[in-house]
């Protein structure tokens, strides 16, 4: 899956070498975060997979399941150009009943974050019942 573009190859002939770079400040570093309201409750993030929207080339972001109890799990997604449309799949496994959880994507470069799920507020999770979702986001 194409994560980022450095070279402007719109006018590139087959024999050319890239001669121009997309301005590097167009690239941003993005992070996927699941946060929950109860400090101390544990969640295992089983899987986070991303793909270009509509694409079928999915990339698993986690080598291992991550378990935390401090209210947040954040994993790097990579470098992307703002405006890129991504499909994001995730599955979170709550160890306790959790009254409120939400998922965000953060542009570390600009410091802005986007809500992925739920659309408003937080969602309650039940002990032992995984929360899985497919969401499409246009990176900002």
């Amino acid at each position: 899956m194409s994560k980022a573009r450095l070279f402007d190859i719109s006018n590139l002939a087959s024999t050319d070498v890239p001669s121009s770079l997309i301005p590097l400040n167009n690239l941003s570093s993005y992070y996927f975060s699941i946060v929950w309201t109860r400090d101390g409750s544990a969640i295992s993030l089983s899987s986070v997979a991303i793909a270009s929207s509509g694409g079928s080339d999915w990339k698993q972001l986690l080598p291992f399941v991550i378990t935390e109890n401090d209210g947040e799990i954040t994993v790097p997604m990579g470098l992307f150009n703002p405006g890129k449309k991504l499909d994001i799949l995730f599955s979170a496994f709550p160890h306790q009943n959790i009254p409120g959880a939400a998922v965000f994507v953060t542009n570390q470069t600009t410091g802005k974050f986007q809500r992925i799920a739920p659309p408003v507020g937080t969602t309650a999770l039940t002990k032992g019942k995984p929360w899985s979702l497919l969401s499409t986001v246009t990176l900002q």
Binding site: R38, G40, A42, S47, T67, N97, L134
Partner: protein, 409 residues
Amino acid sequence: MKKQILATLLLTSSILCRAQVIFNSLWDRGSSFTQQNTLFNDIDLSSYELLSANLSFTDKDQTQKVVLAPFRLTNNPAQFKFLVNTKVNLSLKDKITTFGIGFGGDNTSPYSRRANRIRTGIFTGIPAPGFDPRNLPPTLEQQLLRILNCEMTDPVRNRIFDSLGIRNCIDPEMLSVIFSIDSVKRRQLILDAFNKSVANVNHTLDSLLLVYDKAIARNAFKWTLGYNKQFFPNLFAQGTANNFDSLNHYNSKADNISISATYSYNNNQLVFTGAYNHIYAKSSAAKGQKMVPYYGPAFSASVRIFSFFKQAVLDTMAIYKKSLFVPSLNAGLSFEGKYADNASKYAPYYQDKIKRTVVWTPYLDILISPILQFRIALPIVRNTLTGDEKVTAAGANIQYNFKLSNLAQ
């Protein structure tokens, strides 16, 4: 004397209402104040639930008791760490009103460092599942584009399209709707495939959650430090015109400081409780009474002698996975002692001239579900009076317990 005998002939109907929010999901047995159910049940603060309510009816008196941990009602109790195990006690027993406050600790809390250490050990190194849904059929749009691309270079297909007139029939708006519907269906297919890919790892996590809960419950230790203030029934005091003042000369009946601890092994297979109550009490509200110091040790031990289900069956039961509750038959023995200070200056002020009370209670607990439990007990009470006269009696004690370990679904 009559009172002493009556006190031993208890027929108690007790309803324990326990509500626990999501703070701690493991069913708690050792902290029940039924461990001190005869002498000190009104001042026992060893509850680790949001709310514990107890109603006891005897042929002599009745007890109503509520222990509430108000900070568990907050949205984020873990923020309060220390205060979350703070509880208040309100009870009425034998016309005596008791207000108390206590705090304590509980190493089964999912927020403790111990729980974090156990969790880290169990949930580390689980490989995340791969996800490759390339075997999903391409979308309608992709298929169509593929066909259209193909027909640009395939004169045969181009001729077929032209001959069928398809190209002229395609309405872009209609296509857009079709693609949209197809996209929703495809997203569901992707999500289904994803859920299938994570099903195994989530099943593993579910199994490990049970392993984690069992590890937490293997060695559980809880403690409570409490203070209670008891009052004579001044609000509804009755007296004649001559002695009303003397009858209600004092408001304060007693001051109690208590410390209690519970250790349970292997998810309540063995439960040991110990407590010490230091009490300063007056025998009556009449003028001229003095506070008498009492020393009140108490302990109990119980063992699960029979589980109604084998472990393999328990592991599949929702009620067990939710709170580790084990339907079982348990036997136990409790001791409660109340010793008055021996100093001669206190002797005239002993209540009912009793300087020492010792209660041994063998009991059987029948635990059917978290909301349905019975206790059959036979308290044996031995009172020693000021003249060293000893009075021993025994009576049946039956309790009905109702407990909700977790209100959350």
